[in-house]
């Protein structure tokens, strides 16, 4: 069952997402958090700014969740991506899900994160410590 799927500018309440996916039907709960890292290949980040084509991003996140639910026996699933300016250590993305056994929970969570990074129209802009900014666009 898919519960929360959202794109938000507010801080992600990941404790609430974990509680949302906990159920006696599942023996395993996996939470992934993507957080703002300070160093990338030796360069220092001050903050990140995420931008989204929000309506399509929401739709893609929902489609990924539905596809995951056909591949693994997911009891409950919640996924949230934050946009706007984020400071070091803040949570940019959270995926919480539960399954009867742990192998499926780890696999499904990894697959969902890879799909989000590949398909959901969201972009991050690095604000480096040297004062420059840089959009991250893989393969371009």
């Amino acid at each position: 069952m898919i519960s929360t799927i959202a794109i938000t500018t507010a801080p992600i309440n990941y404790q609430r997402l974990v509680e949302e996916v906990r159920t006696p039907a599942a023996g395993a709960v996996v939470l992934f958090l993507g957080t703002v890292r300070e160093l990338t290949a030796g360069k220092q980040t001050l903050s990140l700014v995420y931008e989204a084509y929000t309506e399509m991003a929401q739709k893609q996140m929902a489609a990924i969740a539905e596809e995951a639910a056909t591949r693994w026996p997911i009891a409950k699933l919640a996924a949230v991506h934050r946009i706007g300016p984020l400071g070091l250590g803040e949570v940019a993305v959270a995926v919480a899900l539960s399954t009867p056994h742990r192998a499926a929970a780890y696999e499904a969570n990894t697959w969902i994160m890879e799909a989000i990074k590949a398909r959901v129209p969201i972009w991050k802009q690095e604000h480096w410590a040297d004062g420059t900014t840089e959009w991250q666009h893989p393969s371009s």
Partner: protein, 81 residues
């Protein structure tokens, strides 16, 4: 035919606007949108081959038809997460 096109991230920055109007043939496609963007805004050329184009909130193939009422959006490779 004139089509309103929304832009995001580095593409928006290069063009200097979040929305542009492009002129394409009347039975135009997504491939025509890409070509018209490159012609009207030569500064987008380095990104052009990698751009993704969505029509009505779905990823669109080069031969997807574009209507005057279509919601057309161009953007660079995504980098969420």
């Amino acid at each position: 035919m004139q089509v309103a096109v929304l832009l995001f991230a580095r593409l928006k920055e290069l063009v200097g606007s979040a929305a542009v109007t492009l002129t394409i043939p009347s039975a135009g496609t997504v491939a025509d949108i890409r070509a018209a963007l490159g012609d009207a805004y030569p500064q987008t050329q380095p990104l052009l081959a990698h751009l993704l184009i969505a029509v009505d909130k779905e990823y669109a193939a080069p031969d997807t038809r574009v209507l005057p009422t279509s919601e057309v959006v161009c953007f660079p490779p995504v980098s969420g997460g």
